[in-house]
């Protein structure tokens, strides 16, 4: 048969093309997912790396700070007073609270540190950047609600409304582009009004800040409007607070800086003060314990199984167990840690020792399997040569085989460590889920680890914490990247192909 039906051939080639496309699309979809993942996390994380501060001249009142005990001074009060000096318009208690709400609850910490370092500053006036609250920071970064600022192009006349309540605005500025609309804020210098209604060229407004009675007209170039994408009730920054922040901005007092605090501070309930230092130190301690336990145990077990173990039931049992443990879900190891280490042995909850123990057991099978592969790759001729000159089997293994297998063992260990660094579930079981503000100092202090920190922050509703979560993830991924790159470098550089 020399002639096959043309249509069938065409169909078959079409099927071939389709099949190839399916395969390629699978890979493309996976790549797209990965790209989406990284892009969304990076875009969430970027705001967390900058912080906003307001530059204030703070008078360090000797009545509030004692040179003999500089740490106990009322620095928060001093800072708030300094802010009040710049923005004196708060008329009542609610407004004063709103004003203080612009500052972080830890605003006085920097000042405290300065005075402790140099008590001679007491009595002087110091100019320093003071940390703003998370909401104020988010507002200034434009993340809370979009704010459009437009300069007033046409003149507006202001007159008190009939009845005394509120103000009426008239004039070309009301209707000419961009015009005024309800909910907007009109600012001119330190005066601010909120537009309540606009009707046929006339706008009614109420004063947010005390308006000087002499203010009767706004000339082009001296006023601007703020328009929000969400009404005040849906925002965490009120109109008044927004106005104050704009005024501070106009006065050039707002500074943006890199948030070193993120790396130097421990956890906090306030998003702007929270940092990953505690979690990083905790991770380091925990993984160190895991390494110290899993590496010697794993290599020793691998050496025994690969070189010395006789072929009997005990060896089979051990090997079966190792393969099983490699596939056990990680949370089970957490249960083990909870029942045995915490309950039975009474070890301290949430300590790096316990976390390290649990992680060591978790990565032990991986290290054993990788080390066995590395040992197996060393050709038997090396062992035979050593035996030939009269070395004992152990001497041959420890003096000759093990050093040659070391690069492979290190690679496997680093990869195991990388996995341990990213583990969360088992550590939740042993209690590393508490809110811990202090940086742990020892292996028995309560601590948390970076992935658990990510988990804890991700649960919190504030937008600022979402940014921090993403930023912590970036740090976590960076560490993993470095570890994996180190393993690959080791493998390329030192592993020999026999």
């Amino acid at each position: 048969m020399t002639e096959l039906r043309e249509s069938l051939i065409r169909k078959r080639y079409a099927a071939e093309r389709r099949f190839r496309i399916y395969g390629a699309s699978a890979l493309v979809l996976t790549a797209v997912f990965l790209a989406l993942l990284l892009a969304s996390i990076i875009s969430q994380a970027v705001p967390a790396f900058t912080e906003k501060t307001v530059v204030l001249d703070v008078m360090i009142d000797p009545a509030e700070a004692d040179p003999a005990n500089p740490a106990a001074g009322n620095y928060d009060g001093m800072v708030k007073a300094a802010l009040k000096q710049v923005l004196p318009d708060a008329r009542n208690r609610a407004e004063r609270k709103a004003l203080n709400g612009l500052l972080s609850s830890g605003a006085g910490d920097e000042l405290r540190r300065m005075v402790i370092a140099d008590p001679a500053l007491i009595g002087q006036t110091v100019t320093l950047p003071v940390l703003l609250s998370a909401d104020a920071t988010l507002y200034l970064k434009g993340l809370q609600a979009r704010v459009a600022v437009s300069a007033g192009a046409a003149p507006v006349a202001i007159a008190p409304a009939e009845g005394g309540e509120g103000l009426i605005l008239t004039g070309p500025g009301v209707s000419t582009e961009p015009g005024l609309s309800p909910g907007q804020i009109v600012m001119s210098g330190s005066a601010a009004l909120r537009i309540t209604a606009v009707e046929s060229g006339t706008a009614s407004a109420e004063a947010l800040t005390p308006i000087d009675a002499s203010l009767s007209a706004l000339t082009p170039g001296t006023w601007k409007t703020l328009s929000f994408s969400a009404p005040e009730a849906d925002r965490r920054t009120s109109d008044l607070q927004a106005t104050w922040l704009e005024q501070l901005k106009d006065a050039g007092r707002i500074e943006t800086g890199f948030a070193w605090r993120f790396f130097t501070a421990g956890d906090s309930r306030e998003p702007e003060l929270a940092g990953i230092r505690g979690a990083l130190v905790g991770s380091l301690l925990t993984v160190a314990v895991a390494l110290a336990l899993a590496l010697p145990l794993g290599v020793a077990a691998a050496i025994y199984l690969e070189q010395f173990a006789p072929k009997n039931r005990l060896t089979d049992l051990i090997e079966v167990n190792i393969n099983n443990l490699a596939a056990v879900p990680s949370i089970i190891f957490g249960l083990l840690g909870l029942a045995v280490f915490l309950n039975f042995f009474g070890m301290p909850r949430s300590a790096p020792v316990v976390g390290g123990l649990v992680l060591a057991l978790l990565v032990l099978p991986t290290i054993i399997i990788a080390s066995r592969a590395a040992l197996k790759a060393v050709p038997p001729s090396i062992t035979e040569a050593a035996l030939g000159v009269g070395a004992s089997h152990q001497q041959a293994v420890f003096h000759h085989v093990l050093p040659l297998a070391l690069p492979g063992i290190m690679t496997g260990t680093i990869l195991g460590l990388a996995r341990a660094f990213g583990e969360t579930a088992p550590l939740l079981m042993i209690g590393m889920v508490a809110f811990i503000a202090d940086v742990p100092h020892g292996f028995t202090d309560a601590a948390t680890v970076l992935p658990v920190q990510v988990f804890l922050w991700s649960d919190l509703p504030e937008l600022a914490f979402k940014n921090k979560t993403a930023a912590a993830i970036i740090v976590l991924l960076a560490v993993l990247f470095v570890l994996n790159a180190a393993a690959i470098y080791l493998r390329r550089r030192f592993e020999r192909r026999w």
């Binding site: 048969m1 020399t2 096959l4 069938l8 051939i9 078959r12």
Partner: protein, 273 residues
């Protein structure tokens, strides 16, 4: 009779008669095959007749398998392989870019050195080719093709009761006959055999040689073999390859009793290879 073509090789006097008796099936002119930089086949020209067995002999690495694989374009699966020159089967240039390789391989079947039945049922092994080429309209027709192919391969009586058993469960010789049945099932015109008996014991080998003798009445068979005795037993024409070149080609009996080239003589008498 085909027009006399300028051979670069030496042809013993008797062969033009054989050539005249049978039509030329495969014609190669000036074929070069390269693996990367390695020049494996050097300016090969040969005519292979239909309904006869042509044997390729020669020492290891001389290019006989390479040339065999060039005839059904199996070399295409090797990325570094390059083929130049003409190979024509029944007037079709098989390296023409418009030629469909899939159809070519249905016309030119291949049996490999180590039997490679699919890990499927015996029936499925034989039915695979006809299925994908749409050669049967229904199961009944497929059954017929399978039975015929197995009969032609001399395997039917042995496996007719266990067609659902895996092909890999047969003995080596049976597996090779299964592979031959599989190749026959797509109704080829040419069957290429790459050392088909080298992995088999003498009894299985004898059976396969018997089979080849029957098959040559209907197919053009080209067999690569290490064994000169086999070539002598089984083929009508023999081609001797050495270092990528076709050294001598002609009637089998003539080649083995009175070779024209010294290299051929040396190989046949066992001085090398």
């Amino acid at each position: 009779m085909n027009a006399a073509v300028p051979y670069q090789t030496v042809v013993t006097p008797a062969s033009p008669r054989i050539m005249a008796e049978r039509p030329m099936k495969i014609t190669a002119r000036g074929v070069d095959v390269y693996y990367g930089d390695k020049h494996a086949i050097n300016q090969l020209s040969i005519d292979i007749p239909d309904r006869a067995v042509s044997a390729f002999i020669g020492p290891s690495g001389c290019g006989k398998s390479t040339f065999l694989r060039a005839i059904n374009r199996m070399n295409d699966t090797i990325p570094s392989c390059r083929v130049t020159g003409d190979i024509v089967i029944d007037g079709d240039d098989i390296y023409d870019s418009k030629l469909d390789v899939v159809q070519l391989r249905a016309r030119v079947g291949m049996v490999f050195q180590k039997p490679n039945p699919f890990p499927k049922a015996i029936y499925e092994n034989v039915a695979y080719g006809p299925r994908i080429h749409g050669m049967a309209k229904n199961k009944a027709e497929l059954d017929v093709i399978v039975e015929q192919s197995l009969r032609k391969a001399g395997l039917w009586e042995e496996v007719k009761d266990r067609l659902a058993h895996p092909g890999t469960g047969l003995s080596g010789g049976q597996q090779q006959r299964l592979c031959i049945a599989r190749a026959i099932a797509v109704n080829p015109e040419v069957i290429l055999m790459d050392e088909p008996c080298s992995a088999l014991d003498p009894i299985a080998t004898a059976k396969i040689e018997e089979l080849i003798d029957e098959l040559r009445q209907n197919y053009c068979i080209v067999i690569v073999t290490h064994s000169m005795q086999q070539a002598a037993r089984v083929s009508q024409l023999t081609a001797f390859f050495h270092l990528g070149t076709l050294v001598e080609y002609g009637d089998t009996d003539e080649m083995f009793t009175a070779p024209q080239e010294k290299r051929t003589q040396d190989y046949i008498t066992g001085r090398f290879g």
